[in-house]
Symmetry: C2
Subunit: 349 residues, 2 copies
């Protein structure tokens, strides 16, 4: 999963605004530690080596104050994790990946829960700065835009993950919702389905709008007709999945032969409603969910094909990028990582 | 919920093995801060006051080394949370309660995930000690016995929550599984149900054995007959709930008029199986689940009455007891906190 994430096509590539200590090391043909010694006038280096490294640093435009964030100076080996989600379903795998990555590097995570309360968040940031954390990871209940962490944390490396900072310079790592929807619809089209409906959540979620865009573009790519009666935004519940199936089957439109659902709960409700009407999943109607939440996908009858946002890998990557930033790299921009298709019986494995 | 927890009957009361700084303050009629000043020879105290406090401390047998753990000396205002659960469903509310409690006290939580790996756990403990944490909270995927944290952490305040240290001196906070089962069966008996079956998980879980004990004792208390064919241990899944209903209805025994299920997934599966056989919940068969996990209880048809283990309150209490221990109190023993009954349509609200 990590490999897959790394080979991803990025919507926005990492911005390299200025050279890092790694660039200096590579150009000078020495280790990062040696560069650090040379620039900090520490250690036991030949004068010639020191001068050569300083020349390379100057040539590349490496600014010594990047070093303030270097791994080699004043590091506390702690980072803060601020979540506005009360340890929810999406935050859990992100935290797990992040914690694994940082444990590997012998760093520790201060955990703070801000539950959408800006005053509490500011208090947490202040406490974390008091602990001299080396950086912050900010995550959330949903991937929508949020204000960046306030001026208190100015200059501190920050990675937003499953959380989109309303600041183009900030590094935000998000799943590629649109690409995930394309995977789902492509899969259904490849199975020969012609009438693919999309039952989803509320449109004020950015994820709903992105997945809708992917649904429409994949229909077009597969030369399948687009029927607005097949697009049903609603809420994130099983009950809505059941109700939406009733609307589709009892309405004026021709019955769909496939459903792409905005989450696994909707997909499970839809599967129940179809079975209770005597229709078979997948032979009459194939279903793809979203989230690959095993509590839903495995308990559904039949088990659900779903789109996985690879959140654990996203959490691990957040840790890796934070360490890069602590080491002096300047990273920023909104970056989206690919989802995966997990095939189960609801599309006829 | 907090009040309820505090008024609980404890299976084992807190052990007071030695006097605390609070005892000295109370007996000397001064504040804890004054005792601290007197014993640390700090501050601006009258010699007479200082001598009186030292005399009280000696009389009570207060050992100065208790002070090493006092809130007034060398405190880092950080604690470590070690979980062997990968941020799972039971750990989440515990972490939330713990974090809220400690944030109120301006303390911060280092989060570590040990995933049942003793070597990783030892590494985490070592790192946390290196950070000079004031104490540890240990939680787990299940409430079964575990070895205590190793000798590295000797002398450090530790609270085990939803995790049972195999050490009678350690403080372990657990939900009262047996009492929760009694609540469920009492509720069904009060509704006039006479044939109450118990479908549950695997018996190697201590929680299964404790809930079974509560089931049998509540049947006896309600003067209802006990039929071993009504007790069905199995696995923690919806599929098992459906299968167990098939066994009960197709077997030689008289059909039950109520089900007490060991978790909400089993209860949901049972409700589905009953509905699909044309039986009504609750008029034909009433159902009580366990865990009060809203993903299951609210999505089930009908919504499920369930037993809530009050895990957030348990997490909060773990934080409060840890602070007591950091302040010098000596607490220990296995303590169980009551569950609550949450009534919904599956028992006919």
């Amino acid at each position: 999963m990590d490999d897959e994430t790394k080979s991803s096509a990025e919507v926005t590539g990492p911005e390299r605004l200025r050279p890092t200590i790694r660039d200096v090391a590579r150009h000078a043909g020495v280790s990062i530690g040696t560069v650090s010694k040379a620039l900090n006038k520490g250690g036991n280096l030949a004068l010639e080596t020191r001068e050569r490294i300083i020349a390379v640093a100057k040539e590349l435009g490496f600014r010594p104050n990047s070093l303030a964030q270097s791994l080699h100076r004043k590091q506390s080996f702690t980072v803060g994790l601020i979540s506005t989600d009360s340890f929810g379903r999406f935050t859990m795998p992100i935290m797990e990946g992040l914690e694994e990555c940082l444990t590997d590097r012998r760093m520790q995570v201060f955990m703070c829960n801000a539950t959408d309360d800006p005053a509490l968040e500011a208090q947490h940031v202040e406490s974390l700065l008091g602990k001299r954390v080396d950086g912050l990871v900010v995550t959330a209940r949903r991937a929508d835009k949020r204000p960046p962490i306030g001026p208190l944390a100015h200059g501190l490396p920050i990675v937003y993950v499953f959380s989109h900072a309303d600041d183009p310079d900030a590094l935000s790592l998000l799943p590629d919702d649109e690409g995930g929807a394309v995977l789902a619809v492509q899969h259904l089209a490849e199975l020969g389905r012609k009438r693919i409906a999309h039952i989803t959540g509320p449109e004020h979620f950015e994820a709903v709008r992105l997945r809708r865009a992917g649904y429409f573009s994949a229909l077009a790519a597969a030369r399948l007709p687009r029927d607005d009666a097949y697009y049903l935004p609603g809420v994130w519940s099983e009950a809505w999945g059941r109700e939406a199936v009733a609307r589709l089957l009892d309405g004026r439109v021709q019955s769909p032969d496939a459903l792409f659902c905005g989450n696994d709960q909707i997909a499970r409700g839809a599967a129940d409603a179809l079975r209770e009407r005597g229709l078979d999943v997948p032979s009459d109607v194939a279903i793809v969910g979203f989230d690959n939440w095993d509590v839903m996908t495995l308990a559904a009858r039949p088990p659900l094909t779903s789109i996985d946002m690879n959140l654990k890998a996203l959490g691990r990557e957040a840790g890796e990028r934070l360490i890069d930033m602590i080491s002096g790299e300047k990273l920023g921009g909104l970056q989206r990582r690919p989802c995966s298709l997990v095939v189960r019986e609801s599309t006829g494995r």
